[in-house]
Symmetry: C2
Subunit: 452 residues, 2 copies
C-alpha cells in the first residue's frame, strides 16, 4: 500500500486526463517524494469501467492510496524515475482530493533555472508565487532534494563535531540587551518590559567555554533586523555555531573548522550525490571544488591579488561584497578551490571583542571563510582578558555599563578561545550553486515576507 | 599539557591555601570538566621555592596550564575522581587569574539537594544566586553531567528519527499571526509592522507533510508568554517536535513516538551512566523506570483510576497538574513504569484542529505522554480535511479569516497525519528526577529572568 500524489494523466501535460482505447484503460503518473512511477488501470475482473472513470476524474495533486502489482515495463518508461517497472492497479482510493484549480502547477515550479526567474507570461511560477504557495512548490523533486541536502549538512556538522569532543548546547534567543551595540536587532514585548532577539549565540557560547565546556556547538535560529533585500540576506536564519578553547595558537580553531567543512563536503558527495544531481538538473551549476588541507590566505595576500587585478583599495579597507566575489574567482583560477579561508583581517574592521594580532600590529586574529566567493563564516579569537576587553571597548566608544556582565564573564578564570558562526542556508545555497537564499530556507523570512 | 581550573589547595576546603613541611611542597586540587586530580609541587631541581610560593598564591578557579609527571598515588586519593594517580608538576603557568572574591563558590553550588534549596545562612548558593552566576555554577560536576545528558537526549532523538526515515526541517520563529488564537504569544516589532514569536512549529511541520516530506522532526526554540512562575514552565524552551503521516490508524504515530522514547531512555542508560550517577550524587532520585512496549492507557481508564483513589472529577474534565502527578503515582504502583501514554482525551479539552474520534463520540484521537507524572509531550492526529477543520473552528468560535491560510494548506491533497511536541528541558529534568526546570536549561528564561 502506498500514498502517492497524482501528478497527471500520463502522456500529456496540457490535458487534464487522457485515456486510451475507448476508456478500457487509463494511465496515471504518480509521485512519492523524489520518485515517480507510471500506473495503469486496465478493464478486467478487478478493475471496472466505473473505476477507470473515477480515476480519470481525479484532480491533479490529489493524494491516492493505491494497491497494485509491480510489473516489468514492456519498454523503458521515459519521464519517470522508475523506468523499468509500472504498477498495475487493483485498488485505488482517493485519500484527499486537491482543488481543481491549483494556485501553482508543479511543472511550472520545475522549469529550468533561467525560465523560472523570468518575468512575463511564464512569470506565474516566479519566486514570489512559488513562495506564496510553498506547500506545492516544495513538492518538486528539486526541493525534496534541497531540503534533504540541508538536513544532511546539519547532521554532518553535528556528527563531526560530536566526534571531535564538542558538546551541543542550547542558547537563549530572548536576551535582555542588544549584544553588539543595538543596531539591527528586533525588539520584543516581554511582559511589562521589553527584550531583544539574539543576533548570534556568541556570548553564550563564550560563557559555556568559561564554564569549562571546552568545545561547544549549537544550531538554532538567529535574527537580524537588517532591511537588506538581497539574494543572500534573511531576517531569520539558522546559525551553525561553534566555539572552542585552544592551547597554543588560534590556528587550532581554524584547523578544526576547515576540517569540519571538508568532512561535510565529502559527506555530501558520498551520501547525497543523487539529490545533488537532481538539483543540478533544474539549476545547472559546476560541482563544488575544495582542497585538503584547505587554502588559508592572509587578508593582505587577498588584497594584493585584488590590486594586481586592477582593484583600487586600501590595505586595511574592508572587502565589499563585489570584491569578495571577485577574489573568489581569482582564488579559484589560481588555487582551483571554491572554499578558502581569509585570515588576519585588519583590526579596525572587526568587532571590539576580536583579539588583536601581537605579531602584526593593525591586524587581528580573525578570519572569514568563503564558498564560491561568498562569506559563509565569520570568526575570530575572542579577547578573554577583561582588562584588554575593556580597553578595546573604550577604543570603540562602547558604553561600558551596557557590557559589564559580558566583561565580568572573564573574571573567574577564562580560557583562550575562538570560534565562528556559519549561515546554514548560505552553505547549502553555495554548495549547490543556487542563486538565492530563499531557495534553501523552507519558509524564508525577509523584510517583506513573514508568511507562510 | 593540560588546561585545568584550580579548585583549591588540597586538604582544606575552608582555607585558601595550604602547604606542608615549611613550604617545601604544596598540593593543588585541579579540575577539568567532570574530572579532578591531585597535583603536587615538590621543591627540587625543576621546582623552585618561588614556584611553590607562586602556586600558593593563586586564586581559586584560576585557569592553569600544567606540565608534570603522572605518578601512582602512594595511597588511594579520596575526594578526587582520579583516585589512583597524582600529577607531579614540573611547570605551571597561570593562563587566567580569577578574582580573589568569587560571587559563588563551587562547593556551595555542590551542596546536596536539600541544603542547596534551603534559605538562610546557607542561602548564598540558592537558585537565584546560582543562576546569576551561571558561569561558575555550570562548572560543578553535576552541571557538567546534566548538560551532557541533555546533548545526548537531542542526539538520540535525531539519530533514532533519522534512522526511521524522518527528515530534519527548520521552521521560522517569527510568524505573522498568533498560531493558536493569540493568547500567550510574544509580540515583535518587525520593521514598520509587527510579528509574533511562534509558540510551536506545528503549522510548519504540518505544511512540510502536506509538501510530501512524509515524516519530519525539528529541534528549536519555542516561546510561551505565560506568566507562570512554576518549577516546570519557561518562557523560552527547546521543543523537540515530530510529525508524520500514517496509513491506517493514528496509533502508528503513538508507536513511533513511544519507540523513540524507549530508545532514548536505553541510550542514556547505556552511554551516560556515569553522568547520571554524578547527578544522583548531588540530587538523589530513584532511577527512571520504563517498560517495553510502553504502557498506553485510555483517558477514561486514567479518570477511573483517580476516581477509585477518591478524586472527584467529571469524565470529560481536563486533568489538573495535581491529578496528573497523582495518576503518575498510581500508574507507577500498578504498572511499575515512570513513562506512559494517556490516549483519547475528551475532544472538548483539546485544540480545534484535533481529530475527533469516530468510534467514541466526545473523545478525540489525541494523547499526552508523561514522565514521573508530569506531561512531557502533547500530541494528536490533526484534522487534514478542510471542511471538517472549518466546522471545528466554527464550533470553537474561531475567526475563520485569521486561519484561512492554515485551512487552505489542506486543499492541495493532504495526508492523514499526527505528531507531537516534546519539552526537551522537561525530559531531562524528569529523567534525572530533578525538581526544577531551571536546572536543565543552561540559561533559563522565565517571566522574571532574561539574564544572563
Amino acid at each position: 500500500m502506498f500514498l502517492l500524489f497524482l501528478i497527471l494523466y500520463f502522456g500529456n501535460f496540457g490535458i487534464i486526463y487522457f485515456t486510451l482505447k475507448g476508456k478500457k484503460q487509463c494511465f496515471l503518473l504518480l509521485r512519492q517524494q523524489q520518485f515517480t512511477v507510471q500506473t495503469i488501470l486496465c478493464l478486467s475482473e478487478t478493475v471496472s469501467q466505473q473505476m477507470i472513470k473515477f480515476a480519470s476524474n481525479l484532480n491533479r495533486e490529489s493524494l491516492l492510496d493505491v494497491t497494485g502489482i509491480v510489473m516489468a515495463a514492456p519498454q523503458k518508461i521515459t519521464g519517470c524515475t522508475q523506468e523499468d517497472v509500472e504498477l498495475s492497479v487493483t485498488k485505488i482510493f482517493c485519500v484527499s482530493q486537491a482543488i481543481p484549480r491549483l494556485p501553482l502547477l508543479i511543472e511550472d515550479a520545475m522549469r529550468s533555472g533561467a525560465e523560472l526567474d523570468e518575468e512575463g507570461p511564464q512569470g506565474k511560477a516566479g519566486q514570489e508565487t512559488r513562495l506564496d504557495n510553498r506547500i506545492i512548490d516544495l513538492r518538486t523533486p528539486t526541493n525534496q532534494a534541497i531540503f534533504r541536502v540541508e538536513a544532511a549538512v546539519c547532521k554532518l556538522f553535528r556528527d563531526i563535531l560530536t566526534e571531535k569532543g564538542f558538546v551541543e548546547i542550547h542558547t537563549p534567543k530572548i536576551i535582555s540587551a542588544a549584544s553588539e551595540g543595538g543596531a539591527n536587532v528586533f525588539k520584543v514585548s516581554y511582559f511589562k518590559g521589553s527584550a531583544y532577539l539574539a543576533q548570534s549565540p556568541q556570548l553564550y557560547k563564550q560563557m559555556a567555554l568559561c564554564a569549562d565546556f571546552d568545545k561547544v556547538f549549537t544550531i538554532g535560529a538567529v535574527f537580524r533586523a537588517e532591511n537588506a533585500n538581497t539574494h543572500r540576506h534573511l531576517t531569520e536564519f539558522v546559525g551553525m555555531d561553534l566555539e572552542m578553547t585552544f592551547k597554543e595558537h588560534y590556528h587550532e580553531v581554524i584547523e578544526e573548522i576547515t576540517d569540519t567543512f571538508v568532512s561535510i563536503f565529502k559527506g555530501l558527495q558520498e551520501n547525497l550525490s543523487e539529490e545533488i544531481a537532481t538539483v543540478y538538473k533544474q539549476f545547472p551549476a559546476e560541482p563544488f571544488k575544495f582542497t585538503q588541507p584547505s587554502l588559508i590566505l592572509n587578508y593582505a595576500e587577498g588584497v594584493a591579488m585584488l590590486k594586481e587585478d586592477g582593484i583600487t583599495m586600501g590595505d586595511e579597507d574592508d572587502l565589499s561584497t563585489v570584491n569578495e566575489k571577485r577574489l573568489g574567482k581569482l582564488v579559484r583560477e589560481k588555487y582551483d578551490t571554491d572554499f578558502y579561508v581569509l585570515d588576519k583581517y585588519p583590526l579596525a574592521v572587526r568587532p571590539f571583542y576580536t583579539m588583536p594580532s601581537v605579531t602584526e600590529p593593525g591586524y587581528s586574529n580573525s578570519y572569514d571563510m568563503f564558498m564560491r566567493g561568498e562569506e559563509i563564516l565569520s570568526g575570530a579569537q575572542r579577547i578573554h582578558d577583561p582588562d584588554l576587553l575593556t580597553e578595546r571597548a573604550l577604543h570603540h566608544k562602547i558604553d561600558l555599563t551596557k557590557i559589564k556582565s559580558y566583561i565580568d564573564s572573564f573574571r573567574y578564570g577564562s580560557p583562550p578561545h575562538g570560534g565562528g558562526g556559519i549561515g546554514m542556508e548560505r552553505v547549502v545555497m553555495l554548495y549547490l550553486g543556487l542563486n538565492n537564499i530563499r531557495k534553501t530556507s523552507m519558509f524564508p523570512r525577509d523584510p517583506k515576507r513573514i508568511t507562510p
